[in-house]
């Protein structure tokens, strides 16, 4: 059996190389996010945001942009018989799950590096919220990537695959969104950064991450069977 870290590195490397070469997902996600900000500006008729409104707009936008990337996660495997290649290899099949989750976290991080500063420039009074926000983003990314990879791997083998991910994923990430926005809201108050219940909400995020990462890892083998 090939050691898991070799297989992990192979799959992750392959994905990143392909993405860097074709740039299919990242620019679309980033552009979508920035355009959404503009739509929110007009839709809400606000030029500055704070507190819960700011948190809501930011997280809703990141979520919908993430769905774009999640939809494309397994497309190469599906179109070019990639699933077969991985299933033929002497590897632990759950490695495909961890490698894809890692890839998705990297895409989401790249998205946030672009979108979040722009959000701050468009709507926030100060950048004080950004450093603590990094922790929230990181934890949320792990959960979103785990749930997203799980659903995406099933959706890719179905009809209407572009519809299935948003349909099933959105209710599934509601607890994640609740925790993320609740942690973010006090960071963006007009009066200054506050850490009200920050630790509690980070723990809820961590719990979500743990459950979905373990779940995905455990069932992935069954998903690749035939």
């Amino acid at each position: 059996m090939t050691p898991s870290r070799t297989a992990f590195a192979a799959i992750l490397g392959k994905d990143l190389r392909a993405e860097l070469r074709t740039l299919q997902s990242l620019p679309a996600m980033a552009l979508f996010a920035v355009t959404s900000f503009v739509i929110f500006r007009f839709g809400l008729n606000r030029t500055s945001l704070s507190g819960s409104l700011a948190a809501g707009v930011l997280w809703a936008t990141l979520l919908f942009a993430a769905v774009l990337g999640i939809n494309r996660l397994f497309v190469a495997e599906r179109e070019e018989g990639g699933f077969d290649a991985i299933r033929l290899a002497p590897i632990d099949r759950s490695v495909l799950f961890t490698a894809k989750v890692a890839a998705l976290i990297i895409y989401l991080a790249a998205l946030e590096v672009i979108a979040v500063p722009i959000f701050a420039v468009f709507f926030l009074n100060s950048a004080a919220a950004l450093p603590p926000l990094i922790v929230v983003l990181l934890l949320a990314d792990i959960g979103l990537a785990s749930a997203g990879t799980l659903i995406s791997s099933m959706a890719v083998n179905s009809r209407a695959r572009d519809l299935l991910v948003p349909l099933v994923l959105l209710p599934l990430v509601v607890p994640l969104m609740i925790a993320a926005t609740a942690a973010t809201e006090p960071l963006m108050l007009l009066g200054g950064v506050s850490y009200h219940r920050f630790g509690t909400w980070l723990m809820v995020l961590g719990l979500y991450d743990l459950i979905f990462a373990l779940l995905g890892y455990a069932v992935f083998d069954f998903l690749l069977e035939d």
Binding site: T2, T6, A7, A89
Partner: protein, 222 residues
């Protein structure tokens, strides 16, 4: 059992193999024994289950019933022991179109635990054999069907498998391509082969065993 004592366990042993899709039986009561190093040629009309049989042997599908032993491993329980010892060449080349030929082969090599200098040497050796060295760094997206097939053959034998499972290996290959294929996946090179084909004339001469599959009929190799 007698087989073990003879010291030559069959490479493939099927007893009453059955594969069912919902209500439809794709394979019904297939039995055969193929010795190590032999070539088994599988013939039959479309829909007879040839590809299904190959995929079961490749551990890509589970048998619904019957006994299946490949290279001494009982399927589906011991499928994990078998992977890495089989080379599968299916209808799809299993290549990523946005990666180059070399990158594709490196990826497959890594999945099989072959890395570093050893991988590079093997990749160059194979690309040379199929005459694709000069195009090894182009994206496979730009390859013709024949080139893709040749690269797929490289992928298939990269890890030096004991058993080759070939689904119409000559498709898309011109005469030169077929000769090249012969040197890598042809008979008499030491591996056991199962060849599914629509071209009996080409492959029957090299067969040690022939299996004719017909829709809805039990089959045994002759």
């Amino acid at each position: 059992m007698a087989d073990d004592q003879k010291g030559a366990e069959a490479a493939i042993k099927l007893v009453g193999l059955r594969r069912v899709y919902g209500e439809r039986a794709a394979l019904e009561d297939v039995s055969l024994e193929t010795a190590v190093g032999d070539s088994l040629v599988v013939l039959g009309p479309n829909g007879a289950g040839k590809t299904t049989l190959l995929r079961i042997l490749a551990t890509l599908l589970r048998p619904t019933g019957g006994e299946v032993r490949v290279l001494g491993c009982k399927l589906p329980d011991e499928a994990w022991k078998l992977r890495g010892r089989i080379g599968y060449l299916g209808h799809e080349p299993l290549l990523y179109r946005d990666l180059s030929g070399r990158e594709n082969l490196r990826f497959h090599a890594k999945l099989h635990g072959i890395t570093g200098a050893r991988a590079e040497a093997r990749i160059e050796e194979l690309l040379d054999a199929v005459k694709l060295s000069h195009r090894g760094d182009e994206r496979t997206f730009e390859f013709s069907a024949g080139m893709r097939q040749r690269l797929a053959i490289c992928r298939c034998v990269l890890h030096e498998p004991e058993l080759l499972l070939l689904d119409e290996p000559d498709s898309n290959l011109d005469i030169e391509g077929r000769e090249i294929a012969h040197t890598l996946i042809g008979p008499g090179l030491g591996h056991t082969r199962v060849v599914v084909t629509h071209d009996p004339e080409r492959h029957l001469p090299e067969a040690d065993q022939v299996l004719r599959l017909d829709v809805n009929e039990p089959a045994a190799a002759r």
